[in-house]
Amino acid sequence: MTSTTAVPPAPPIPARTRLRGGRRVQRTSGRLFKYAALAFFAVLVLMPVYVLVVTSFKDVAETDPSHAWSWPHVWTTAAWHQAWDQLSPNLANSFRLVIPATIISTILGSLNGFVLSKWRFPGADIVFTFFLFGMFIPYQAVMIPLTQLFTDANFPEGIPRLVFAHVVYGIPITALIFRSYYATIPQDLMEAARMDRAGMLRTYWSVVLPISAPAFVVTAIWQFTSIWNDFLFAVFIINDPAKWPVTVALNNTTGSFVTPYNLQMSAALLASLPTLAVYVILGRYFIRGLMAGALKG
């Protein structure tokens, strides 16, 4: 979902250091209500997950609408096997897409962000705005000429084209994240390096890069998720179903109303596992990176 819908990463959320608030008596009942409301919303948010998980483990016979919400009588991984059979080549495609694209666009973002914030040139802010606008365009508008250009240039078909597209259209957001982060580095650090006779690349390599880890984490996670979840680019750029990344294949599998629900759900879950895993495992590093300044509002 985060794919081509350009959403700047959420800002860092400072912790609440002092608990303050109304009168004592109101506090307790107010607090109960608060937790109840929070729990209610949590249930709402997680409800689709429940459905996904529960249905994916059901037998075909149980995917009858009348049993829609019930716990499976029999837990089976049949749907998972099916999903795997159908989608594993596409999963592989997705990995072949996401890994190079993330690495390249992250590095590119770091270099761009560095120059735009710390080794500026006249008009650097204009260039940055010029980049930023590119993040908001409707990508539909450029898909046709893009595919045309690919054909004319004889660019290798399939995943390489998609990698290229994501790298290019990822330039704005990656530059944004790194630029915000590098802005928190004091300028006199750059000046000290200059006085020590370091040139631009040397300064980047020896002074800036070693302290860039938080921004790299935020950018990499963001790009990984966006690119993995992308549908628009893939559906326009890749014509051969064998080369589809998993999102397109998923849509194809589940689009037909004939597909049984357990397969649909297991396929959707399977396709989402990598990004969910990244979210669960690396989420705190993402937050930590944001707190370190990888995006200031």
Binding site: A37, V115, L116, I144, W228, N251
Partner: protein, 295 residues
């Protein structure tokens, strides 16, 4: 700034990106606009100038006006819903609760899921089948004795697109919450304390001290959500496919180009989308970059 030796290398390092963006963003947009003004209406490419013919055809196209209505319905529900829920969640969390981290992670996790996968679930949840064959949310309503709430969801003629906004709200409320939470926490505690000392009730503190601080956040959220809404494609396709009853301009464009091969008309839609977004984004960009310079 005479010392090009100093800033030259920087410009050099960024120049490949500048070229790429210039070509693949601005160049292609220009190409797109040109196509919209040509008479390339079939699979046979043509670059003859046709003026605004494609736009006129679009205007006369009944499907187009439906699309626009759908988009409006979707946008309004989506934005209002996401803002309200995001604000509510942030409001609940902002004073600090036990397990804040847990709740935040829960509300934010939909951002990790692709719209396609979300579409699979929500299509099922919003299954329009009524009564005995009802499933998804409809059956929940029946069980909770609020059966009258059961409806046709995204297939409904009047509120269809509003229903379509629900998965979008589900996906993005967490993000809006994060924006508002940062906004709430950006209010200096001293301001609230001073207001309390001056005798304000807690509600008054919110109304006069905190909420004004949130106006810029609401503005940002509005603009970001607005532009997402105009562009949204994955979700519509995942839930409604190519059906007219859920079609939006973004989807229609895809259909025109891939199925009907009417390139000029498709490009016209794309150009209009771009104009719509620019009206939102350009003032916003100018505003943010300028306020950054002030700081």
């Amino acid at each position: 700034m005479r010392n090009i030796r100093r800033w030259g290398p920087g410009l050099l390092l960024v120049s490949p990106s500048i070229v790429l963006v210039a070509v693949f963003v601005y160049g292609l947009i220009g190409w797109n606009v040109r196509v919209s003004l040509s008479d390339w209406r079939t699979a046979v490419q043509s670059s003859k100038w046709a003026g605004f013919a494609a736009y006129r055809d679009l205007n006369a196209d009944l499907a187009w006006s439906e699309n626009v209505h759908h988009l409006l319905g979707f946008t309004v529900t989506f934005i209002v819903g996401a803002l309200l829920i995001g604000l509510t969640l942030a409001f609940l969390l902002e004073k600090g609760v036990r397990g804040e981290g847990f709740f935040r992670s829960v509300y934010l996790f939909p951002m990790a899921i692709s719209f396609i996968a979300a579409g699979v679930v929500w299509r099922w949840l919003m299954n329009p089948a009524p009564g005995d064959r009802s499933t998804g949310l409809n059956v929940v309503f029946e069980k909770l004795h609020v059966g009258f709430l059961a409806n046709q969801w995204y297939l409904g003629l009047d509120w269809g697109m509003s229903a379509m906004a629900m998965p979008a709200i589900w996906a993005l409320s967490g993000y809006v919450m994060a924006l508002y939470l940062a906004g709430f926490r950006g209010v200096p505690e001293e301001l609230r304390e001073a207001a309390r000392m001056d005798g304000a009730s807690e509600w008054r503190v919110y109304r006069h001290v905190v909420f004004p601080h949130l106006r810029p956040v609401t503005l940002s959220a509005l603009i970001i959500l607005g532009h997402i809404s105009i562009k949204v494609f994955d979700l519509i396709v995942a839930i409604g496919g190519k059906q007219l009853v859920t079609q939006t301009p973004a989807v229609y464009m895809w259909i025109l180009i891939y199925d009907a091969r009417d390139y000029a008309k498709g490009a016209a839609i794309a150009t209009l989308l771009l104009v719509g977004i620019s009206l939102l984004i350009i003032p916003y960009l100018i505003y943010t970059v300028r306020s950054e310079q002030r700081v």
